[in-house]
């Protein structure tokens, strides 16, 4: 593990965090998780019945993923805190992906409720990974109040629009004191690569894989995109410029003019023959 992602002291080799929502079946999900190489996977907490055949927990156990419960579907800090506490009871983890949504149509975070919930959960000992707007000020507040990671959206959940405001994301990254994980909006592999190239510490995605026509194939693409983006970020890209800059040296370019240069005739005024001065090859 020469370049691990470290969240709250826990190291991860993979910088791709997978959500599990939207998969057509547990079998398809398991194949996608394996192909993604992920080491941490989100789950939701919902009403359960004891007779249900096959469990997502069994899948995650087989794949060997760390469980990251979420508070999806919560609209208030109160509900999010209760859901986090229930998740802690159910799954024996104090890690929580905190998600407090403002409305059903955009699924955008409610900044006020999110901040309140984050503060409460940090105070009672949760390791909070906060799903947030791409708002640099809010991201800073969340980090300052003790969130273990901030997870700004690229664009709305499930929209597949990629990173719509890379400039805000750059500001968030520049001032970051905790890991920044791009969460939501990734549509295809290049979106994940761009996030990592910009300097994100990781990418969290679900729909882009689970709703792809070939989820396992897309999961592999995402794994490679995250790895490639990370390497490119560490390598340091060249600056963008409007005009070209030749990569081939301009020194030593031959002069291929098809006539003699001025002022190089011999004393008799005859043009000098090339073989008199240069000699024949061979």
């Amino acid at each position: 593990m020469d370049d691990p992602l470290v969240i709250a002291g826990q190291g991860f080799t993979s910088r791709l965090v997978m959500g599990t929502g939207g998969a057509a079946s547990l079998e398809a999900l398991e194949q996608a998780l394996v192909a993604s190489g992920t080491e941490m996977t989100t789950v939701a907490l919902r009403r359960t019945s004891p007779g249900a055949r096959g469990s997502i927990l069994d899948v995650l156990r087989r794949v060997g993923c760390r469980l990251l419960p979420n508070t999806a579907g919560c609209f208030t800090a109160r509900d999010a805190v209760r859901t986090a506490k229930l998740a802690r009871e159910a799954f024996d983890t104090d890690w929580i992906k905190l998600e407090v949504i403002g409305d059903d149509r955009t699924l955008l975070p409610d900044a006020v409720e999110l901040r309140d919930a984050a503060e409460t959960l940090v105070d009672v000992g949760f390791t909070v990974l906060a799903y947030t707007n791409d708002d640099p000020v809010l991201a800073r507040h969340l980090a300052e109040l003790g969130c273990a990671a901030v997870m700004p959206l690229g664009s709305p959940i499930g929209s597949g629009m990629g990173i719509t405001n890379p400039y805000n994301l750059r500001i968030i990254l520049e001032q970051a004191t905790v890991p920044v994980i791009l969460d939501a909006g990734v549509g295809t592999a290049s979106d994940a690569a761009v996030a990592m190239e910009l300097g994100c510490d990781g990418v969290l995605l679900a729909s882009a894989v689970t709703r792809a026509q070939e989820p396992a194939l897309m999961a592999e693409a995402m794994r490679k995109a995250v790895e490639a983006g990370r390497l490119a970020h560490r390598a340091g890209r060249i600056p963008r410029r409007l005009y070209a800059e030749a990569s081939t040296p301009t020194e030593g370019v031959p002069d291929l003019t098809d006539r003699p240069a001025e002022g190089t005739r011999d004393p008799e005024g005859q043009p000098r023959q090339p073989d008199e001065t240069v000699g024949r090859a061979g």
Partner: protein, 68 residues
Amino acid sequence: MTVIVNGRPADVDPGQTVAGLLAGLGHPPGGPGIAVALNGEVVPRSAWSTTHLDDNDRLEVLGASQGG
């Protein structure tokens, strides 16, 4: 008496505990992977066998499901 479990009415004996109700529903002992809210409040696993239900109590029995 009647309690509401995951939105549906269920008949239970007076004084039934959370643990007893879960067993009656068919959950394995200890309920691995599940959590219980009673009238909106978390009931810690350690309190399942000592928490008695009242008429019209609202229980949520929750477990892992797919989610982003």
